[in-house]
């Protein structure tokens, strides 16, 4: 038994080391923070040298990038898209509106904290963050994957009732 466990842990470690260099992100531009994505992907601040490429379907991608403010109409669609992705999957909160509401804190339709409804791994602060800050956020995510600490998708499966209760209170499902 001990030999089998050691082999399994070693196998997972090698896979994480190889897998962090080929993350694919979903090109779903939620709100105004998505204007910083084209400079990051194209020639000047090149994100493809880390293996990060934009893809258009939720079945093929690993990272869900929530850029900018979250209103209730978008949150319903975001939860459906997140549950369609295949694990292991990661969520990155982009901009200060996902941290504490940002400049829209007093609006009747904006949700202030993202991690009550979806499990978030990395936050990137700024309004908007510059492309260099975005690349720093991606490198932090790659370091967390290498150490084996990016387990948002396992938290969602274990605390499913907690997340669904929060979603039902706000979204009137």
């Amino acid at each position: 038994m001990e030999l089998q466990e050691t082999l399994e842990e070693g196998y997972v470690e090698i896979l994480d080391h190889l897998r962090k260099r080929s993350l694919w992100m979903l090109h779903y531009c939620t709100a105004c923070g998505a204007i910083e994505l084209p400079p990051t992907i194209t020639s000047r601040f090149d994100a493809e040298r880390f293996g990060i490429a934009p893809f258009v379907t939720s079945r093929q991608s690993d990272i869900l990038l929530v850029t900018g403010y979250i209103n209730i109409k978008t949150l319903r669609r975001l939860i459906t898209v997140y549950e369609q992705m295949l694990p292991p999957k990661y969520v990155i909160g982009f901009g200060s509106c996902t941290i504490n509401g940002g400049i829209y804190w007093d609006s009747y339709a904006i949700v202030k904290r993202l991690d009550l409804y979806l499990p978030v791994d990395v936050y990137i602060a700024g309004c908007m963050p510059t492309p260099m800050a975005v690349l720093e956020g991606f490198r932090t995510l790659m370091k967390l994957i290498d150490e084996g600490k990016a387990n948002g998708w396992k938290k969602y499966q274990e605390n499913y009732e907690y997340y669904k209760e929060n979603q039902r209170k706000v979204l009137k499902w």
Binding site: R19, D46, E48, R49, T57, Q60, P88
Partner: protein, 297 residues
């Protein structure tokens, strides 16, 4: 006898690794043309490892699962009918005409599998893929049959050995070579004719519902298909090779020239692409056929 069977078993593995090297080289070259650094040369291998290690799989039925299996299976079968320098593979059992038939089985299997998924984007993508196949097969078959008339045989291994010592068909029959080169763009899905996988329009066409292990199998099939199509052009028009290293170098030369044109063009619509294929490359190939028929005999 034993040596030949061992070569038959190792050829798909060789085709897979050469295909990965060619795809990685293409991505790096496109990045350098855009004046940026690109991903490392082994990036397609990392992508395939990540896709094959996903934890769940979504399936829509039995035919949906069998689509990628048919694609990879047809690719492995086709690569056994291509000779490499020094070994005949399965060419005594199947010649040029059998090869042109077997090349099509993979796309038909993908069509059945993607149609089962129920997504309208997949149906549009599959209809466009099969229509494009009607377009590029015509110049390719005329170019192949020109060589049959010139050499008097349909054996692919003899095509390679009769062109040794710089008697390449690229210099002897230049018009047919140009028509075959343009038809190879359509077969590989390169840029003027990549309406099948159009990420901004139909969300990658037939592959829209595939993820995880199915997509990993599809990418393995795509790497082997790259080896097959460039290898076919090298055998017909560039003289094969003295040993395996010159063969791979000639395939690399084909990829370099194709990429130089591929990064500059936008995308044709499907009816414009088919109309183009039936006009200029077909005319050039017919003129080449006339030259061989009248002059060569």
């Amino acid at each position: 006898m034993v040596k030949e069977i061992l070569t038959l078993i190792f050829t798909p593995i060789l085709a897979f690794f050469v295909g990965i090297f060619l795809l990685g080289f293409k991505r790096k070259m496109v990045a350098r043309i855009h004046r940026r650094y690109g991903p490392p040369l082994h990036q397609p291998l990392l992508d395939i490892i990540k896709l094959l290690s996903k934890k769940e799989n979504i399936s829509h039925g039995v035919m949906f699962d069998l689509g990628p299996v048919m694609y990879v299976g047809a690719a492995i079968l086709t690569v056994l009918f291509l000779p490499i320098p020094g070994f005949k593979q399965l060419t005594p059992f199947g010649d040029l005409i059998a090869f042109l038939y077997i090349m099509v089985i993979g796309s038909l299997g993908m069509a059945l599998g993607a149609g089962e998924s129920g997504n309208p984007n997949a149906s549009i993508g599959i209809a466009r893929a099969l229509t494009l196949m009607l377009g590029y097969e015509l110049p390719l078959i005329i170019a192949g049959n020109t060589l049959v008339i010139k050499y008097g045989t349909t054996d692919l291994y003899k095509f390679m050995t009769l062109q040794s010592g710089f008697h390449w068909n690229l210099f002897l029959l230049p018009l047919t070579a140009i028509a075959g080169f343009i038809a190879t763009y359509g077969a590989m899905g390169e840029h003027p004719f990549d309406v099948v996988v159009a990420p901004q329009e139909v969300a990658t066409g037939p592959m829209v519902e595939y993820g995880g292990k199915h997509l990993g199998l599809l990418m393995i099939g795509m790497a082997i298909s790259t080896y097959i199509e460039t290898g076919f052009f090298v055998i017909l028009f560039l003289g094969g090779g003295a040993n395996i290293l010159t063969f791979i170098l000639k395939q690399l030369g084909v990829i370099i020239v194709m990429t130089l044109f591929d990064t500059v063009f936008p995308r044709f619509r499907i009816e414009n692409a088919v109309r183009y294929f039936w006009r200029w490359p077909t005319l050039i190939a017919l003129v080449g056929l006339l030259i061989v028929y009248i002059g060569g005999k």
